[in-house]
């Protein structure tokens, strides 16, 4: 049972690994950006896993709710709302750069681009 309680964090570690591997091992720029977004999503899972309380509910205090209602921790949720928006901003910017790279070089494979730059 102990390990089941940590399963979330293990999945977080695995996702982080997959994301980083995707960034490092692939030379295709768009694929790396997908890896980057998985890498960032993994962190969301870390934070949101922290907010859960057994028997709790979303932190919305309805008027008339019983006084002993257990609520989830609101703070990690706020942080991750911020982080999600940061993530999409980074992704959008990176994709725009990828599009410009394609237009300037005709390819989005980093190894080919490196060759082209070396020829100069």
């Amino acid at each position: 049972m102990e390990i089941l309680g940590l399963y979330n964090y293990v999945v977080f570690a695995v996702l982080l690994m997959v994301g980083l591997y995707c960034i490092l091992a692939r030379t295709n720029i768009v694929k790396s950006i997908i890896g980057l977004s998985i890498f960032q999503s993994a962190v969301f899972l870390l934070y949101i896993s922290m907010d859960k309380v057994d028997g709790g509910t979303a932190p919305i205090i309805q008027p008339g709710a019983p006084a002993d209602t257990i609520y989830a921790n609101p703070l990690p949720q706020v942080l991750i709302l911020t982080a999600i928006v940061v993530g999409i901003s980074t992704t959008a910017l990176a994709l725009a750069v990828a599009v410009r790279i394609k237009e300037a070089y005709g390819t989005i494979e980093e190894d080919k681009i490196q060759e082209m730059d070396r020829e100069l």
Partner: protein
């Protein structure tokens, strides 16, 4: 609340408030004017903040009126005020300096976006140094990084795009590492406020999580700061960015990551993890030493002047890392002073390079033959900066190296080894600076090259010389930088 009490928030507010206005400006020249106005205002405000905290006071400003661990508090002491001054100063100097060169490099159409990004970059960096909240540092780190990507990608060469892409990937990995570290810290303490974290981290039993958090934060920030093996994004980014942008980011942006590293390691971990100073030494000293040599050697074999200076920055960051790793007042003073001084030196040198670039089309060193005669004032500024990199007395580089050597002396046997390394790497700096001087002063221009006879325009030359002279001023009258740095070091190490 008087205006004076509001200053800590105003320094951010004035930049953020005007950024959308800059973006909506479609008139010629206005974006630049608005951006410069707001950045200079921020500079004046940070100077007045620095004057307030000069004697070791700390200003706490509670955002939204919510007290510290619940809301976000700004936390300004001597160190953050010094950094804020460096950032806003570098930003305004680069903007005023770049009025001419940016008009060439950045199109009329993208100017509003570009200058708005510039303002936000300044805001992000200042936000990182004055905040007292670990997560807030992440948010402002992202503001500054995203806007730096935009600034770098405005470079005229297509290689700027690849440089930006690499920078995005490395920067995002660094920021995400930082975020993971903060997450672990939050997990063991339940708070995000740095002062509160410092108080609560020591009480935790889950020492593994704290250790790994410290590791992630340090590595993430080291990526952002371009500490040696994580530096790959930097030379390209510096080389292909527009010249004025290089002046700004070389002077300010990596230093801010180092600042956060100092803050987190000293204020949070130093008192709570046993043997943290040894771990810090083991992490940073090898990297610092490697950086000194690798950076200088790469610079010696480099053909492009901007890339050469970027590699030289890698080695200079090595000095700062060494200073941080010493965990003594003298070492930390040296590191902080060198952050400030290196900002001045590199800012001045990249300004000189930008002056060269406006007359010579390419800044390949081979191309610059005869520049010593064609542009005497520019090259003189460059040479003074180069002497600063080497650490000749009466230049700012000397002061910081002096403190580093003092700190190394305190360490005994290992210190002698460090002193030897510092001396050797200064000699390497002589080689790469000389390489440029030799071509510029002692080589005849190529026969087929278009002769350059004109000195750089005064609008660029005057700011360059102001920065250079400021550097010399601060190496003679060291009260301001050294005074603030040693006070900051004392506060961080808790000796008073």
């Amino acid at each position: 609340m008087t205006l004076y009490d509001q200053l800590p928030a105003l320094v951010i507010a004035v930049l953020l408030f005007t950024a959308p206005i800059t973006y909506m400006m479609r008139l010629h020249g206005f974006p630049w004017a608005v951006a410069t106005l707001s950045v200079v205002t921020a500079f004046i405000i940070s100077c007045s903040l620095a004057a307030t905290v000069f004697n070791g006071e700390t200003i706490i400003y509670e955002m939204g009126g919510w007290s510290a661990p619940y809301g976000i508090a700004l936390h300004i002491d001597a160190l953050s005020a010094l950094m804020a001054m460096l950032i806003t100063g570098a930003s305004s100097a680069a903007l005023i300096f770049g009025a001419r060169s940016l008009a060439d490099e950045v199109g009329e159409e993208t100017a509003p976006a570009f200058f708005s990004a510039w303002q936000l970059c300044t805001a992000g960096l200042v936000g990182m140094v004055i905040t007292g909240d670990a997560f807030n540092i992440f948010v402002f780190m992202e503001i500054s990084s995203l806007s730096t990507y935009v600034l770098v990608s405005a470079g005229p060469d297509r290689r700027a795009l690849i440089a930006t892409y690499r920078y995005i990937v490395m920067g995002t990995i660094g920021a995400t590492f930082y975020l993971i570290g903060v997450g672990f810290l939050y997990m063991v303490t339940g708070t995000l406020n740095t002062a509160d974290l410092a108080a609560r981290v020591g009480a935790t039993e889950n020492i593994r999580l704290v250790l790994v958090a410290a590791g992630f934060i340090s590595v993430g920030l080291a990526v952002k700061a371009a500490v040696f093996p994580m530096h790959q994004w930097m030379p390209r980014a510096y080389t292909y960015a527009p010249n004025a942008v290089t002046v700004f980011i070389a002077a300010a942006s990596t230093k801010v990551a180092l600042y956060v590293l100092i803050r987190v390691d000293y204020a949070i971990f130093q008192n709570s993890i046993a043997n943290h100073d040894i771990q810090l030494t083991l992490f940073l000293v090898p990297l610092g030493v490697l950086a000194l040599f690798a950076g200088s050697l790469l610079a010696i074999y480099e053909k492009n002047l901007k890339t050469l200076l970027a590699y030289s920055s890698v080695s200079q960051i090595g000095y700062i890392a060494l200073g941080i790793a010493m965990t003594s007042v003298a070492g930390l003073t040296g590191a902080i002073v060198h952050m400030f001084n290196h900002g001045l030196i590199k800012g001045g040198m990249f300004m000189a390079v930008a002056c060269l670039a406006i007359r010579y089309r390419s800044v390949n060193i081979a191309n610059l033959a005869g520049a010593g005669r064609a542009m005497p004032w520019t090259m003189a500024a460059f040479v003074i900066g180069g002497l600063g990199l080497i650490g000749v007395p009466l230049t700012p580089g000397f002061i910081s190296k002096w403190y580093l050597v003092l700190a190394a002396l305190e360490k005994g046997g290992a210190g002698a080894f460090l002193i030897a390394i510092i001396l050797v790497s200064s000699l390497l700096a002589v080689i790469y600076v000389w390489k440029v001087i030799e071509v510029a002063y002692f080589k005849a221009p190529r026969a087929n090259a278009v002769p350059v006879t004109q000195e750089a325009p005064l609008s660029m030359l005057i700011p360059t010389w102001i920065v250079v002279l400021l550097g010399i001023w601060f190496s003679i009258d060291t009260r301001m930088p050294v005074g603030m740095a040693s006070r900051a070091a004392e506060i961080l190490l808790g000796v008073k």
